[in-house]
């Protein structure tokens, strides 16, 4: 390969410096342009999820709570109000680290008295065809939580002495799902008394 630029130290350093500087400047410019659209996309995603698990609301107040068992990542709670400032429900983004393949992230919608209204799986790496049956529409598993209250509906699989029917051949995933909702409930009651 015939190259017209000799490999002197000055050439090497200056070339890398120039290329990196131009790349850095170009990318920071692009970052600034896309910063707003990206934030809007994130907001829209959260809004859609909240509207899915909560009754119709006018505004939300976001609060972050340290999980009751002191895990590192916070539980995000969204308190939903109507236009007269009545609390309509609470949505919590919660998680469990005990999935078959690690992190399972769920959004749970509670009514003001902390009855479970709806669940939505946000993120997981569970096995397709087995653990992923916890997703809405793939099986009846998440339906059994609707209208149940954690005080009377024990959030453990039947095998562990609770009230939850696990997904066939996906006990670990089912346990993680329960663990996540349980974490949300136990964390919320530390900061909020159900009405």
């Amino acid at each position: 390969m015939k190259n017209k630029k000799p490999n002197t130290l000055f050439n090497m350093v200056s070339t890398l410096l120039i290329i990196s500087s131009i790349a850095g400047m170009g990318l920071s410019g692009l970052y600034n342009i896309t910063k707003e659209p990206i934030a809007k996309v994130q907001q829209k995603k959260i809004q859609m999820l909240l509207e899915n698990v909560l009754p119709p609301f006018d505004r939300v107040e976001k609060k972050a709570f340290i999980p009751y068992d002191n895990l590192t990542d916070s539980i995000l709670a969204f308190f939903a109000y109507d236009s007269q400032n009545n609390l309509l429900g609470i949505a919590a983004i919660t998680y469990s680290l005990n999935g078959f393949s690690g992190l399972v992230k769920i959004m749970v919608g509670f009514l003001p008295d902390l009855t479970i209204r709806k669940t939505e799986v946000l993120k997981h790496s569970e096995t397709p065809g087995l653990g992923d049956k916890m997703e809405t529409g793939k099986s009846d598993f998440p339906v059994q939580f609707i209208d149940k209250h954690p005080e009377t509906f024990q959030l453990r699989v039947k095998k562990d002495g609770g009230d939850v029917d696990a997904i066939t051949a996906a006990t670990i995933t089912s346990r993680a799902f329960c663990d996540a909702i349980d974490r949300a409930y136990k964390t919320l009651i530390q900061h909020y008394s159900p009405k």
Partner: protein
Amino acid sequence: MNQLQNFTKGLIKENPVFILLLGLCPALGVTTSAFNGFGMGIATTFVLLMSNLIISLLKNFIPSSVRIPSFIVVIASFVTAVDLIMAAYAPDLHSQLGLFIPLIVVNCVVLARAEAFASKKEVFSSIIDGLGIGVGFTFALTLLGAVREILGSGSLLGIQFLPQGTDGIIVFILAPGAFIGLGYLIVLMNLFKKN
């Protein structure tokens, strides 16, 4: 080699995935559906095109001993740009492809074309080469994605043709199925190329 041959070689004769066996990591990782394969192919084609163009323009400016770091900075800049633009304007595709977008930087196809072609040939040939290889890569990923989607999920481009609730051959959505599918496609492509 005229420009038409330059362009079409990427499709069959020098198809990066089936013949050159490059870029197999994203080929196996994101092709759970035809659409994901197609999206990744388009993103990679864009990066290929832009990096071939810039590197060909700079080929006499970069001393040969720092050419690899220089290429990587150029490639990484365009990949970051693709990542930001996708996150802002195509969020659904972005969340499907996830971690694999930054991995385009180390996609062997891109660096190989830069080193073997763009750094030695003129700008126009490099652009055509980038386009042709990119189209071939997109074709390979879309094909593998389609095969895995049809066999594994019983759908194509999101349109289900298996009754709701029945599973396809699940292994094809998982890693082993990717290898199996790719293996057979390589055999078919090599047979096709011979004829």
